[in-house]
């Protein structure tokens, strides 16, 4: 019998390169094997701090993305009507000339008429600098429709955030609560961590309307009603207050719980902290029976009570205000159970489990450390209750306050950056607020904005509003409609550009975000706005430039298309100035290097932007002679300095490559990264690993590295005085007050202590007509529309169903695969159903970004992605219903402007048996296909 031939020594390939994955936003390290110059195998880099050798299905399918027929090939100039997908291929010289001429004219006229919005790129430090130097305030990345509730909720509470900026202490946590966490950012680290928790027998509770993925392996699944997480958390707080399960020492040492709050309703300083002449907050010291510096040590600060101020008014510790609020019966489990869809007994039991672990099973590490007061502690005490929260909190219009509620819960039990709890990932924590106020109302003589475009308001004085209190920015961020809109509102950019017309915006410059399809609320309306004309026949939005690597649905709506490379064909930096890969163990950053040479006439977007900035002569991008300062992004990564000694990459700085964080430019820096397999990390010493917000050694080290400006203690904001300043303005105090239509909203939503209110769209929609919640989640093996055009990944999933509870299906006489129409106040979408048990009974859901427009992404017209897959986006509006005066507010969180994707409510209508078996709405195939007609 012939012997089977097995080669036991076959080399994987003939070359290996280390770089950073980009099949999703996790930024895992990858080891890429090449054979004859082509990709052979991509695996996880075993030494990489993010993924430690593992790699998900997306990352493992990178080979097919690198050879996708949907890749753009050459710059494109529109020749047909916008949306028709009729282009001619042009040379880069012509493309750059078109862009340069257009932008130069805008900059000379009114730089704010350029709107630059970027998607899921990881170069926001660069794009933000470009916008600032160009002089436009109309810049943001996609955080406004993604994560800003979590970013703002965290940064304004604890100086750090969930999402990918913090992590549970996987080694010590004994109880882990996940709020609204599905496959998303940080997914490989979370999977690695869940395995560690399971190994140690820690309990995992998943609070999520849907039992898939992580929720499937949780020890307890809590099928919460969407949009009620904040209420659930406040009920937990109610229970913990009832039983006195509060870490009072943590509160007085690390938070502002004991600060005295002025209690004088109607006064201009009501709700602000009582301060001394120097502006220092005060507390009541029970040891001396006097009002004293709240930050003084060796005091016995009161947490409850009412105290007279020197001018005869009353003041109460912030904790007293908090305790009075949440001990009220409206927060009792019995009062919230129905609304949350969780039994009161379960809420009480979960609170008891939190208390049990935090206080009866506290852990103590024998690790001395010194606090910012210079006191050395011989041990580190931990409350091993860790929490993580994601999109299920973020994507609601009450998400900011719900996120704040979770952080307040963490503070009350002393579970912030302690052993076993949630921990900051370096470079966090940062002071609160996290940086300077946003720029946008002043230019320097060189035409640049005087401050970075995105910033951190700390009072109404920092808002970008005109004399009437209306927004200066196109997307209304940093206005009374989104005071803490620290990521901008990308989901409003097209609608507002359309509403304003050419007087407002000349050129809409978009990068890497499918804004005419799965990244849009209401794509049909978005496509109409992009093609709409003024009476004079000109487009309402005069010019659209789009940069992307693939022939997405949005390409057809651009006047000029700048084709980007794939992630394996370019340099990138995963920077501490942007979205670094640091962990609780220390700061880290990484690079991408070109592993493949592009086989098409495409250029990395970052190179193109730097080239464009040089052609435009933007400050910082040209030298004193007006010559281009940087030849490429790789050059910029090494030589750009944000502050003296601080650049995009923190590792291997200084002439000899030994400086970290701060140091002279090192021309050899990239080679050192390559030698270190694409990343740099610093392992913090054990004494710096916890209590970073008050850890002297950590804070002084972080300051020395340039991560923070000050090494003062970062006092956590249990009570948000910053929010109260906005509220006071709504009551008419101060020189900047909100327009009348927004006053009541600001007064209620900018509450200094977490509140819960029903998601806004739901409260404006008839619950009898639209009784169900509709949400989406990301499939584990796909990331946005890129994943679903991948030849391997689309074999896993190429069509999506609407999942619904068995009882709900029975009520509508539905069986698996029946066709229905899902109807919201905004429209209807036709799809097929799938019955399940593990879902909140009043919630329907589906996978996001599977549905594609016919002909887009180089898929066949008969592809299931455009026949049997659908987008929930079609029934979600970027605007709320009109108010009495005809004003339409954004469908967003009123504090941050976060897109409220998950607020939509729906009903189900069963289709007739003879219905055509195809999704609706169905748009005519119009998208551009790379190479069509050229071959």
């Amino acid at each position: 019998m012939p012997k089977d031939k097995i080669d036991y020594a076959a080399p994987v390939g003939d070359a290996v390169a280390y770089t950073t994955c980009y099949m999703c936003a996790c930024r895992c390290g990858i080891k890429v094997h090449l054979k004859d110059g082509r990709l052979r195998y991509i695996e996880g880099n075993r030494d990489h701090p993010v993924n430690r050798g593992v790699l998900c299905g997306k990352g493992s399918a990178g080979i097919m993305t690198a050879i996708s027929p949907a890749r753009l090939r050459k710059p494109l100039k529109r020749v047909g009507p916008r949306g028709a997908g009729e282009f001619i291929e042009i040379e880069w010289d012509e493309a750059m000339a078109i862009a340069t001429d257009r932008l130069a004219a805008i900059r000379a006229d009114d730089p704010h008429k350029l709107a630059l919005f970027t998607g899921r790129d990881q170069s926001q430090a660069l794009t933000g600098l470009f916008a600032r130097m160009f002089g436009t305030r109309n810049f943001a990345a996609h955080g406004g429709f993604c994560s800003v509730n979590m970013a703002a909720g965290g940064l304004y509470s604890v100086g750090g955030a969930f999402w990918e900026f913090g992590e549970p202490d996987w080694e010590h946590a004994k109880l882990f609560l996940l709020f609204g966490v599905a496959e998303d950012h940080d997914s490989n680290p979370i999977k690695l961590g869940l395995a560690k928790l399971k190994e140690r027998g820690a309990k995992i509770i998943s609070i999520n309307p849907i039992r898939t993925g992580y929720s499937a392996i949780a020890d307890e699944f809590v099928a919460i009603t969407p949009g009620t997480d904040g209420l659930f958390v406040l009920a937990l707080i109610h229970c913990l207050l009832e039983t006195g399960s509060i870490d009072t020492e943590f509160l007085i040492r690390y938070t502002n719980a004991h600060y005295l709050v002025i209690d004088d309703p109607g006064a201009p300083d009501h709700g602000l902290f009582l301060r001394d002449a120097a502006g220092k907050p005060l507390a009541f010291d029970r040891a001396t029976h006097s009002v004293t510096d709240a930050m003084a040590t060796a005091t016995d600060p009161a947490l409850l009570g009412r105290f007279a101020t020197s001018d005869g008014r009353n003041a109460r510790p912030a904790f007293d205000v908090l305790a009075a609020r949440y001990t009220a019966p409206e927060y009792a489990p019995e009062a919230v159970a129905t609304r949350c869809g969780i039994d009161a007994a379960d809420i009480r039991r979960i609170a008891a489990e939190i208390a049990e672990i935090a206080f009866n099973q506290a852990i103590r590490l024998d690790q001395p450390w010194t606090d910012t007061e210079g006191r050395t502690h011989s041990t580190m005490t931990g409350r091993p209750v860790a929490m993580h929260a994601m999109r299920g909190i973020s994507a609601h219009s009450n998400g900011f306050q719900s996120c704040r509620a979770i952080h307040v819960l963490q503070m009350l039990i002393g579970a912030v950056d302690t052993p076993g709890s949630w921990r900051y990932k370096s470079p966090y924590p940062k002071p609160i607020p996290g940086g300077p106020a946003p720029g946008g109302d002043r230019h320097d003589p060189d035409g640049a904005l005087s401050a970075a475009v995105l910033g951190f308001p700390s009072s109404p004085a920092d808002l970008l509003v005109d004399d009437e209190g209306e927004a200066l920015r196109l997307d209304r961020a940093f206005s009374w409609e989104a005071p803490l809109g620290i990521h901008g509102l990308m989901h409003m950019a097209i609608a507002e550009a359309h509403a304003g017309g050419g007087d407002k915006i000349d050129t809409l410059f978009l990068y890497m975000s499918n804004m005419a399809w799965n990244s849009a609320m209401n794509p049909g309306e978005t496509m109409r706005m992009l093609t709409d004309h003024d009476p004079d026949g000109k487009y309402r939005i005069p010019f659209v430039i789009y940069a992307d690597a693939f022939a997405s649905e949005t390409v057809a709506y651009a006047d000029l298309v700048l084709p980007d490379t794939t992630y394996l064909e370019r340099y990138d930096c995963i920077s501490l100035l942007d979205r670094p890969i640091g962990s609780a163990h220390g700061p880290a950053d990484a690079i991408r290097v070109p592993v493949l040479k592009p086989d098409r006439d495409v250029r990395p977007f970052q190179d193109v932007l730097i080239d464009l900035a040089g052609r435009l002569g933007l400050p910082q991008f040209v030298d004193d002679q007006g010559e281009k300062r940087y030849q490429s992004y790789a050059d910029y990564m090494v030589r750009h300095e944000r502050k003296p000694g601080v650049g995009p990459l923190a590792g291997f700085r200084g002439a000899d490559g030994t400086a970290i964080g701060k140091g002279a430019v090192n021309p050899d820096q990239l080679r050192r990264y390559v030698e270190n397999h694409g990343f740099w990390q610093l392992h913090l010493p054990a004494e710096q690993l916890y209590y970073k917000h008050a850890n002297r050694a950590y804070l002084s080290g972080a300051k020395a590295m340039g991560l923070i400006e000050s090494d003062d203690q970062i006092v956590l904001h249990l009570y948000s005085e910053i929010l109260q300043t906005f509220r006071l303005a709504a009551e008419g105090h101060g020189s900047r007050i909100p327009p009348a239509r927004l006053r009541a909203r600001i007064a209620s939503m900018m509450d200094p202590l977490p509140i819960w209110y029903p998601p806004i769209e739901q409260s404006m929609t008839d619950p009898d007509r639209f009784p169900l919640h509709a949400i989406t989640q990301r499939p584990m093996a796909m990331y946005h529309s890129w994943g679903s055009q991948n030849a391997w990944l689309r074999q896993i999933l190429s069509e999506n169903r609407l999942y619904l509870h068995r009882d709900l299906a029975a009520a509508h006489d539905l069986a698996d695969d029946d066709w229905i129409e899902l109807v919201s106040r905004n429209g209807r979408v036709k799809c097929q159903v799938r019955i399940m048990d593990g879902v909140n009974p009043n919630t329907v859901w589906t996978w996001n970004a599977i549905g594609k427009r016919t002909g887009a992404w180089a898929l066949a017209e008969a592809a299931p992605e455009s026949r049997r897959a659908f987008l929930l986006n079609h029934i979600i509006s970027e605007y709320l219903p009109e108010d009495g005066a005809g004003h339409r507010a954004s469908n967003s969180d009123p504090v941050t402007g976060q897109a409220a994707w998950f607020d939509v409510t729906v009903r189900i209508e069963k289709c007739a048996p003879d219905t055509q078996e195809a999704t609706e709405p169905m748009f005519p195939p119009s998208a551009y296909t790379p190479g069509r007609g050229a071959e």
Binding site: P2, K3, I6, D7, Y8, A9, A10, V12, Y41, I42, E43, G44, R46, L55, C56, S60, A61, S187, K191, L192, L194, A195, A202, R211, T212, G213, S215, A216, I217, D219, E220, F221, L241, E242, T243, T248, E249, I252, L303, A324, T327, A328, P329, R348, A352, E356, N360, M780, A781, Q789, A791, W792, R794, I796, D837, G838, A858, L859, A862, P864
Partner: protein, 249 residues
């Protein structure tokens, strides 16, 4: 028909241990398997209609997610993510039905392989396998299957630590383990013993080498507490007692 090797006392039984307690159903193992093997010993793993109406292809490892009823967690059952690949059975009928000897079980480590040089594509093996683990290459007209990454686990060109199946190396929730299940002292055998690992459909008598570890449930016993008596909106005694203690900032 093809005969099985005579069992040798103490021979290796290489296989996988798959932990259903931590598998989140992410498909990492399936895709990395495809990626490795489409360029490996059994290359290629073809794809059909890649960008068309019916995308399909050869995969040695597939993940099924389904709900199991009867294990009530308060929400009508539980969701199980179930990775499925060749179990490298000790007495596999897929081998014994093979008319040419193409399908065979290795004496030295128990791995079940297909010699595609002599496979005639009759598909008898895929009919015989109750686990659906065999994959037909329509382009080449031959049967293919999981090789347990035979071109990795013994590959002398790889560093020692990397000589494990691709699915094991890549699994983000560390739900997959590889080793010698014939050696009771191996890590995988100890894991199976400690966690009560089970055979898939043991009643069929094929004696799978691969084992599955059942889901677990962690609990937190809490002390009995008296439900606090509510008295309006005032602070409860417990809270008052707590904050009454001397604190020290």
């Amino acid at each position: 028909m093809t005969s099985l090797p005579q069992p040798i006392e103490g021979a290796k039984k290489l296989g996988l241990v798959i932990d259903l307690d931590t598998c989140v159903g992410c498909h990492a193992c399936a895709v990395n398997c495809k990626e490795w093997n489409t360029g490996g010993h059994s290359a290629p793993l073809p794809d059909y209609d890649k960008y068309g109406a019916e995308p399909d292809g050869v995969w040695f490892n597939r993940i099924h997610s389904y709900e199991a009823t009867g294990q009530d967690d308060g929400c009508g059952g539980r969701t199980v993510n179930f990775p499925r690949s060749c179990l490298h059975c000790e007495t596999p009928q897929c081998v014994t039905v093979c008319p040419t000897g193409a399908s065979y079980k290795r004496e030295e480590d128990g791995i079940v392989l297909v010699n595609t040089d002599i496979c005639i594509g009759c598909k008898l093996c895929s009919w015989a396998c109750p686990y659906g683990a065999r994959e037909f290459d329509e382009d080449a007209g031959v049967m293919k299957k999981c090789t347990l990454c035979i071109d990795r686990i013994y590959n002398t060109s790889l560093p020692e630590a990397e000589r494990e199946p691709a699915c094991v190396a890549t699994c983000p929730s560390r739900a997959r383990h590889f080793g010698d299940l014939g050696d009771p002292s191996s890590d995988v055998s100890k894991l199976v013993a400690a966690r009560g690992g089970v055979d898939l459909m043991p009643e069929l008598g094929y004696n799978p080498v691969n084992k599955y570890l059942p889901p677990r449930r962690a609990m937190i016993p809490t002390r009995a507490t008296e439900t606090p008596v509510r008295s309006g909106t005032g602070f409860g005694a417990a809270l008052l007692t707590l904050v009454d203690r001397v604190l020290s900032r």
